[in-house]
């Protein structure tokens, strides 16, 4: 990075006029969303500090971000810069791009649904209780096997209820896309034996492994080891991201659809045998 001059910290007389340095600083800050954490980079740390100290600089950063189609979710020493894409922004990552190798037609919807489910499962396993998401000190852990197991369990519960209700839930031959996601997930093998010993990408563990690796590339998770198909821990970036963006929007969508189950403050999941002081559940 080039040496940058000290920006002008005194608010300008006209708040809409920004100095050349401030423009440069703002650009630099936004580009840093995928750089190492501030603690390791003094310049980064400096930018973050300035963002905290000067309203004018903060406003500038946010409006530049907005122009790009981004939202500034957080800027802090702990999280670094966390940016989210706004709706329809070019920076928005879509499942179409995420799972390119998928077939077209009616299977497309099914594949996207499964990949989407995998990401929701990772987020839910990373922060199983509502307060885990709210607690800045919480470090979540998620493994491929655990995520797969818990999702299958939820799907099986639905299957049992469906059988008990004696519904015939088999999809119609001419409308397979109406099949429910839980049935599709249960049908997928969890793992298979390939000739070269690798995990087939269409298996549920393959889908989850892809999700976890992707999130690690994004700087949201860090791989801990290879047990249970791969254990990852969360970063504060991921927590901010999930908390501020995904949860709110998706939650609002579901509220609109009227399909939200009412749960109490303790949530729908229980974590057994873990001391909060240790910070992370064993998987």
């Amino acid at each position: 990075m080039d040496e940058l001059a000290e920006p002008d910290l005194v608010p300008a007389a006209d708040p809409d006029v920004f100095s050349e340095e401030q423009w440069t600083w703002s650009d630099s800050l936004l580009q840093l969303d995928d750089m190492p954490l501030p603690a390791r980079d003094l310049i980064y740390a400096d930018l973050v500090r300035r963002h905290a100290e000067a309203d004018s600089f903060r406003d500038l950063v946010e409006s530049v971000a907005e122009g790009l189609g981004l939202t500034v979710l957080a800027v802090s020493a702990r999280t670094g810069v966390v940016l989210g894409a706004t709706d329809q922004s070019v920076f928005e990552y879509k499942f179409d791009d995420y799972s390119r190798r998928v077939s077209l037609g009616e299977r497309r919807g099914l594949e996207k649904a499964l990949h989407g489910l995998a990401h929701m499962a990772v987020a839910a396993m990373a922060f199983p209780r509502p307060d885990d998401l709210a607690d800045d000190t919480y470090v979540g852990r998620v493994s491929v096997e655990q995520a797969d197991s818990v999702v299958r369990e939820a799907c099986r519960t639905l299957e049992e209820r469906s059988a008990a209700a004696e519904e015939s839930d088999d999809p119609l031959e001419d409308a397979p896309q109406l099949e429910r996601v839980w049935r599709a997930y249960l049908r997928r093998p969890e793992t298979t034996r390939t000739k070269d010993g690798r995990l087939a990408p269409s298996t549920t563990r393959g889908i989850l492994t892809k999700a976890l690796r992707f999130l690690a590339d994004q700087g949201f998770l860090v791989k801990v080891n290879d047990e249970y198909g791969g254990i990852y821990r969360t970063t504060p970036r991921y927590q901010v991201h999930v908390r501020e963006l995904a949860a709110e929007r998706a939650f609002r969508e579901f509220l609109e659809l009227g399909v939200v189950r009412v749960t109490d403050w303790s949530g729908s999941l229980r974590v057994a045998g873990v001391s909060q002081a240790e910070g992370a559940p064993d998987v």
């Binding site: 530049v64 989210g84 509502p130 307060d131 998401l133 119609l172 099949e179 093998p189 793992t191 057994a272």
Partner: protein, 363 residues
């Protein structure tokens, strides 16, 4: 009544859940028969001499017997155990060919060529309106699973066991009871050759029952679990333990009778039959004992963990229950629906210099 109304009325009267079940039972045997249709196209051997459906039945049998609460069958083991049966069908071929045939049959029962490793068939029923509707029935026969140590093993599905038993899809618990009542009756009447099939059925049903329990308890090994499941598990374990105790007592009574029959038999064939029955019933009892031990263990662990339940303390700020509000509602949705904004969880693309440089600056 107009012609349409007439059809509708007839349609409603004809709606028959039993019919749907029979059609499904039929569909489950199709992949086995299919093997005999396709064998002529194999280019690596002259396969018409082999009875592939019979070999398939043997394969499913081997997998089922090898299944217990913790494990399943090892792939190579199954191939090995089925070999003698294949050899008997065509004694003049070479060992490589026998192994390949076994592997081919097994791979096809798993259905490795299909991404979902399952089979799909269509069956017709009469819908609510009375009109004839075709529905999709998906099922699996042999399933690959992975052990905690990362090794692959095989299990037989409910549908596969139903093929073995030669019966319809029924409630497993009552099917198990029925098989054992029948067995007791046949033994008492000295009908030992008839009893053999029934004893095997009872064994298969025992395996199937253990499998359904194992599935239900699978997720309890993780320390994160849903509240619903937490409430259900203790009852599930208690019910299962009661059922198992009853089965064990019943089997014990049958065993006493068969052992007596074996002692009293003078005819060697009769004696042999009785000995086989003793073996099968003893195995059922062994499985039940194992199941009981596992359940008691699971129950104890579960209760201990409930006591150590960790709540995260004060709610710091209002936030979302990701499992209950995000994941759970997505499951019953149709596959056509876009995962509701789940793409947000992917994060954004990297911003990078070029993007920033090209941004339109405000002001």
């Amino acid at each position: 009544m107009t012609p349409d109304e007439g059809v509708g009325w007839q349609g409603k009267a004809l709606r028959d859940e039993g019919l749907a079940r029979r059609l499904k039972a039929l569909a489950c045997t199709a992949p086995l028969h299919d093997l005999d249709t396709r064998k002529v196209r194999l280019d690596w051997c002259e396969a018409s001499v082999y009875q592939m459906a019979e070999i398939a039945l043997q394969v499913i049998d081997q997998v089922t017997i090898a299944m217990d609460f913790d494990r399943g069958a090892d792939h190579d083991d199954v191939v090995k155990r089925v070999l003698p049966f294949i050899v008997a069908q065509a004694p003049d071929r070479d060992n490589d060919e026998y192994a390949k045939v076994a592997q081919w049959v097994l791979d096809n029962l798993i259905n490795v060529g299909n991404a979902e490793r399952g089979f799909r068939s269509v069956y017709g029923t009469f819908g609510e309106s009375g009109a004839y509707e075709r529905q999709i029935f998906d099922f699996k026969l042999i399933v690959e699973r992975v052990s905690p140590e990362g090794e692959l093993y095989l299990r037989a599905s409910d549908e596969a066991i139903n093929v073995l038993v030669g019966a319809l899809d029924t409630d497993v618990e009552s099917a198990q009871i029925a098989a054992e009542v029948k067995l007791a009756n046949l033994v008492k009447r000295g009908r030992l050759s008839d009893a053999q099939l029934t004893a095997q059925q009872a064994r298969y049903r025992t395996v199937q029952y253990a499998e359904t329990l194992r599935r239900k308890l699978d997720a309890t090994k993780w320390d994160v679990r849903s509240v619903d499941r937490e409430r259900e598990v203790p009852d599930l374990i208690d019910e299962a333990l009661t059922h198992i105790e009853e089965r064990y007592r019943y089997e014990n009574a049958i065993l006493v009778n068969i052992t007596q029959a074996r002692e009293d038999a003078t005819d060697p064939v009769h004696k042999l039959r009785a000995a086989e029955l003793v073996q099968i019933v003893t195995e059922c009892m062994r499985r039940h004992t194992q199941l009981q031990a596992r359940l008691q263990e699971a129950g104890t662990t579960f209760r201990a963990e409930q006591d150590r339940q960790q709540f995260s303390g004060q709610v710091r700020r209002a936030t979302v229950d990701l499992f209950g509000h995000l994941l759970a509602p997505a499951l019953p949705a149709g596959c056509r629906c876009d995962p509701p904004r789940a793409c947000l969880l992917l994060g954004g693309r990297r911003v990078g210099r070029a993007a920033v440089a090209s941004a339109v600056k405000p002001g």
